[in-house]
Amino acid sequence: MMESWERSRKMGMFPTLFPSPVAMLADSNKIHLKNCFYFLTISCYMKRKCVRLAVLFLLFILPGLFNQVSAQQAVTGKVLNAQGEPLQGASVTVKGQSKGTSTNEAGSFTLTVDSGKVQQLEISFTGYVTKTIRLNHARNYIIRLEDEVKGLNDVIVIGYGTSRRRDLTGAVGDVKMKDLEKAPVSSFDQALAGRLAGVQVTSEDGQPGVNYNIVIRGGNSITQSNAPLYVIDGFPMEGSDNTVLNPDDIASIEVLKDASSTAIYGARGANGVILITTKQGKTGKTVVTYNGWYGQQKTIKKQEMMSPYEFVRYQLDLNPVSAASLYLKNGKTLDSYRDAEGIDWQDHALRTANMQNHSVAVRGGTDKTKYSFSGNIMAQDGVLLNSGFNRYQGRFNIEQKLSDHFRTGVNVNYAHTKRFGQMSNQTTDNLNGASSGNASSYILYSVWGYRPVSGGDDSQLFEDPFDQDITSTVDLRVNPVINLKNQYNYQFRNSLYANAFLEYAFLNNFKLKVAGGITQNQTRAERFNNSNTAAGSPFTTYGANFGINGSISNSYTSSWLNENTLSYDKLFNGKHKLNVIGGFTLQRNDSKANSYTAIQLPNESLGVKGLEEGTLFNSTSTGSYSTLASFLGRVNYSFKSKYLFTVSYRADGSSKFANGKRWGYFPSAAFAWQLGDEQFIKNIDAISNAKFRVSYGITGNNRVSDFAYLSVLRQNVSANSANTNSGYYFNNQFVQGTVPTEVGNNNLVWEKTGQFDLGLDLGLFGNRISVTADYYHKRTNDLLLDATLASSTGYATAFKNIGSVTNRGFEFTLNTVNIETKNFSWSSSFNIAFNRNRVEELNYDQSSLTTRVGSWSSNFTGTPYIALPGREVALFYGYVFDGLYQYEDFDQLANGTYVLKANVPNNGEDASTIKPGFIKYKDINGDGIVDANDQTVIGNPIPDHIGGFSNNFRYKQFDLNIFFQWTYGNDLLNANKIVFEGAEKRANVNMLAEYANRWTPDNTNSLLPVAGGYGPNFYSSRNIEDGSFLRLKTIALGYNLPKSALKKMKIQDLRVYTSAQNIITWTNYSGVNPEVSVRDSPLTPGFDWSAYPQARTITLGLNVTF
């Protein structure tokens, strides 16, 4: 009867106005006829369902009536999966009691139950939907468990608690971990792109072991980080290093997007929150799993460079005299190079690289203790010589029930990672802050640009570390293969995350949880430039100046956290559900760093261990800390689980602000309406679930430097920044300078983001189709802007609360079960997100904010980015490419020279230097000259929409996952094309293959400038390209061995699979990879220069569960 009533209620057959039968059953074992009558009455109350209910009544209530008196009874059964194979290790418990067992190899179980009462068995197993069955006459049960699909009753982790999905009031995206696991990656963020609506995940390039950038619902901040707050097992961290986590350890990833869900993190919630929960042990038999895979990576695409013939032809065009002396000697002619093989440096500098990953975990538990131990080894070589990433990681967590009231647990993660190799998007000659910023100092400049033929003996060119025909003082090109092989560039990191809690449950409804944790990260970067590297060779400027050199830098960050929360949970009258949580937390973050660089090292063989023998060139030692104290509270109230209200409030006090400005207050409110429970929706058969959500809240951002409110005096010896460098020689004696470097701002306060969210969750046809749609509008005010100050203040920048930015957008997620049969199933998940970012206001009435790109070429000093009020935070800015000058633009003088006609504008350089075939820019203001006033917006790096499309197929024992990801409508600035299509006028540099088709007197119908005709070093629309792409990102094909076959080997599950990543990319982008942003910041996205090549990966893997 209980069950019948439950079912009826769940099906929404009658309003819960009627008292529960529990009360009526409480004092009697007998079922009075009166009660039966009562039931019949209420059943009939439900007019349309009356007959059905009556049948149910007969089926479930009556047998119970006649089968009550008995003592103990043995129940046996068998647990099978959907394919009918026995499941070993499934847990079988009597509901409401601690009595339980687990299934054996045959999937069978035996259990003794009291037969006096109505009993239910609960059968659960990881990866399957927990099933409850009611016991009846039968003694033997066959139970089939369905594969787990994320459903409405799944428990989702939210800030400081959990919630059933159906009870959520906020916009929370949860990652389908099963899909994510299909992509073998070294850290979870690499597989996150395209998985969740509104979560933009981008890589700067393909460098192994580098964190991805995650931006949720568009960037709020202009100058500060837009990275979300990470909460790993309850521990909030700004700036988490995702490479220290083993993806196999992650049980769930939830992304809190709207203010209703993030406001509980108050001052740090404005960029969204990513909650990561690691796997815990489960009651039952110890489960041992092994996941391993082995893969090979290969670059997706090669940069096509000129052939030896085209290269020589170009050299002869560029410098006829000197090129002829190099390439046309010993009787050689241009035609001699037609069949020359030359050296393809990419073939030698890039490689097919291996990667492998092995994880072992032991998990299990009793009703008192749950434990999980796991370890991981991951080794990845990069596709560029001598680069890669390794990880050695271990984790354990134990949860212990001390008594009926107390529960405690610890959770520890330790990782040692090693990243090595030249960072391809950084200069090779960076001597701890003394870089030339010369384009030719980048590694890929040499890989692409190093000449294929020397005119003499090419094997000499291949073996010499430096090209004899290059003036090394102005050209930092080096033999890329020798340079790469000799690089010693390591970053070692030790990372410890540890936390523990004690929970005390009292007075039935109260829970007090005291939790504490620490994180410690220790990073050591070592670099050594020996005599065969670009920065250490006596044949290069750096080497000549500084000799063999090296550096070590250490940084330590640590933080501790204490969280104390008191929660109260109660259901009143069966319909008012109240959940209240209040808490107080303290956190402190410490950072320290030190480094030293030494030059003129006498003993090359000692490597970095011999640094002390050299001359100290640079040393730093810094330290800082900040503290945060917070009070938080949240009330969840639901009425009949139909009307859901959430109110939260957090007060954060941060040491980063001056006394009196420290506290920020962050309220939020949300309302959700389970429309699906309303009769008028229930009448529509197609709709199985519908929920409407609305929320508004305020969140903050305190990402300023720890002491931004204070003015600073510093004594910097060798800092290179123009503004802080200090010191002077008096009487040939150095005197340390003490200088004001920062002007403090006592009025600084939190950056505040107000966000409105409107959401709809819809389930159709028995939830075979589920849709989530959200509209949001967020406005960030009091922007913590590292504002550019007028130089006349004497300071470059200072933090100010100035300006505002809005982001509004629409997110749409569609999950469908397309086909579901015994042997075959197909389900899909599709998401798309549109975000519109707009700067509302900048510093004062600043009309624009232009930004340079950090050192990539000292020749390009312009500002290719602009932020304009009313437009996006970042837009490409520069000149409009207007083709090339043609003969008709010139007057030919008697001596044969061409002089630009007076009415034809110049290209920013002197008209007298312009020749036919030179690059031409649009004179936008029509004043006859091209200058800075002719710059305009030339592109938009921010996508119109992003998304992903994942498909899961299952045919018998096979499973197949196909995942697409895209970005649409964003532009990229292809700086590789600037340099390798003629801007680099240095001799003997190879150019892109297409530059062979440049303008020549015989080929005037070209848009590629004549050799040497690049004109001024401007950024122009010529190099802005559409960066949209659709990528077939993952295909994973797996085969699950039949259980019957595994039984003999005492193996529960065994899956072998093969998987490929980055398989096909459809794009118009002409560069190597459209997913690129080597100078990634809110102001400078989408810049492509010397990016580490992205790899296509093919892996073979094995998952075993014992």
């Binding site: 109260f510 107080f584 010191g727 020689y729």
Partner: protein, 523 residues
């Protein structure tokens, strides 16, 4: 229930200690309020203030060539960027120059405002001397900018908060009035250079000499306040009367001394001091000789970029016997041959090919040489300049050259020919009985000869009001006389010096965030 009460009490207690928990103190920097207390503090603050002179966009490099285009040199091959005089308000170098100098002003202001912290701890003479230095430097930095940009924001107090409204431009006369006021206030506080024995700090005569330059500037364009000639004469004269200074008998030795880091406090009143070769933690080297010197591709010999080339006008301004010519304009270059270089003379007709030869890296004493950086000092004010300023001002004040003016001029000339400075020598002395106008013209050329490549020619041409016309003439001359390989770039550079080029544009880095400021006309 008891437990709940306990918890609430505990929570309340923690709340109380919140303030203490959130009171953080910086652990790796100091704050202005607790500094400027000791003599060491003051000296370090002074070092920080002087430091901006050495910035690469100020006297570290910029003022050697790319900020001071004139008729004495052109920059080889430069058709773009500031080297080619192709730039606008967005130019990085101009922006950084402006920024560096204002940073220097801020450092001086901070020192002036906080120097009272030292009262009682530090000897009053030292406080006064420090105050004098800070006042002078604040004035000098303003003078430098006003000379280059015209009316500029006058900044005589430190920035207290980033939320302050940015400063507007002050009229040029106000800026100069403050410069004069600060310098005059500084002079009595300063010490004599003989007490220092080195050139790096501002001495009494250095301030007087520089004030003479300020007055001479005010007397010329654009202020044209001719009453200032009198004061210029007066201050130059007080330097001459001080007994602190005399001409070095050997012209080339002045510059060898700079390169060798040897002080000559008689000849030089003030130098920007550079030190070291940037090969260690201290990087205060400059680039005197490595970007404006004799082309050389070998680092061990003394690398130098092939940028600054003498003009025929400069070359021809010297007489054959004038020893200054072949020192100021190198008659050779270094030709690389494998790993060595060969000193190779120029032919007699190869004039435009020649580089600035004043500071020759081969004399550097600190080894190993760095490609770019060395310890060579940069002369800010030489006694010869004071003599010529005196002569120029005197010529105006007296309606023609007085014997004193002749004496000053001829001292400079005789030294240039290697003659004793105080012995009249008709073979080298300036023609007698020149008219006021002729004498002025003579002085102008003498300044060209004596002070070539010292970053003063552009300044002089501007105050004489002939910068634009001179450069346009030069463009025509280059076009007519220069070898083809060099011509285009040089003609371009000179021809771009049009009316607007008398001042630089206010950099965009200022304009974009300073709503109180306006751009210079034509930019």
């Amino acid at each position: 229930m008891k437990k709940i009460v306990t918890i609430l009490i505990l929570a309340a207690l923690t709340g109380v200690s919140c303030k203490k928990f959130l009171d953080s103190k910086p652990i790796d920097f100091i704050s202005p309020v607790n500094y400027y207390n000791t003599e060491k503090d003051l000296n370090q603050a002074l070092a920080g203030m002087y430091d901006r002179l050495g910035d690469l966009r100020v006297y570290g490099r910029g003022m050697h060539y790319f900020m001071v285009h004139s008729d004495e040199f052109f920059i080889k091959g430069a058709t773009s960027g500031i080297n080619g005089f192709v730039f606008d308000a967005s130019n990085l170098e101009i922006g950084r120059h402006w920024e560096a100098v204002y940073t220097g002003i801020e450092r001086a202001n901070m020192l002036l405002e906080n120097i009272h912290n030292a009262e009682g701890n530090v000897d009053e003479d030292i406080i006064n001397e420090t105050r004098g230095q800070a006042l002078f430097m604040r004035a000098f930095y303003h003078f430098l900018l006003a000379d280059e940009f015209g009316p500029i924001p006058l900044k005589i107090s430190s920035t207290k908060t980033p939320e302050e409204d940015p400063l507007p431009r002050s009229p040029l006369s106000e800026v100069y009035a403050q410069v004069v006021k600060d310098m005059k206030e500084a002079i009595p506080l300063l010490r004599n250079i003989s007490e220092y024995g080195f050139n790096g700090k501002i001495s009494k005569t250095a301030a007087q000499g520089m004030l003479a330059r300020v007055f001479l500037t005010m007397a010329g364009a654009p202020l044209n306040d001719v009453s200032k000639y009198e004061e210029a004469r007066l201050y130059a004269d007080s330097v001459m009367q001080s007994g602190e200074h005399a001409l070095n008998p050997d012209f080339k030795q002045i510059f060898i001394n700079h390169v060798r880091e040897v002080y000559d406090v008689k000849e030089c009143l003030w130098e920007v001091e550079f030190g070291g070769n940037n090969q260690g933690t201290i990087r205060e080297g400059g680039s005197v000789g490595s970007y404006n010197g004799i082309y050389c591709t070998n680092i061990d010999t003394g690398w130098c970029s092939d940028l600054v080339h003498a003009t025929a006008k400069l070359y021809n301004a010297y007489e054959e016997e004038d020893l200054r010519r072949d020192w100021s304009i190198a008659d050779f270059r270094f030709v690389a041959s494998g790993n060595t270089v060969v000193r190779t003379p120029w032919g007699p007709t190869e004039i435009y090919e020649r580089n600035n030869g004043k500071w020759r890296r081969e004399y550097e004493t600190l080894l190993p040489r760095n490609k770019d950086f060395n310890g060579t000092n940069w002369p800010m004010l030489r006694y010869a300049d004071v003599l010529l300023m005196f002569a120029e001002a005197d010529n105006y004040v007296n309606g023609g050259p007085s014997p004193a003016a002749y004496r000053a001029l001829n001292q400079v000339r005789r030294r240039g020919y290697g003659k004793p400075v105080d012995v009249a020598d008709p073979t080298v002395d300036a023609p007698e009985n020149m008219s006021q106008a002729d004498f002025l013209e003579y002085i102008k050329n003498e300044r060209l000869r004596e002070l070539a490549f010292e970053g003063l020619r552009k300044h002089d041409l501007i105050r004489w009001g002939t910068y634009v016309s001179t450069m346009q003439q030069q463009a025509a001359i280059y076009d007519a006389t220069m070898p083809t390989a060099l011509k285009a770039a040089a003609v371009g550079q000179a021809s771009r010096i049009t009316a607007r080029a008398v001042v630089f544009p206010i950099p965009n880095s200022e304009l974009n965030v300073n709503h109180n400021i306006t751009q210079n006309p034509g930019w």
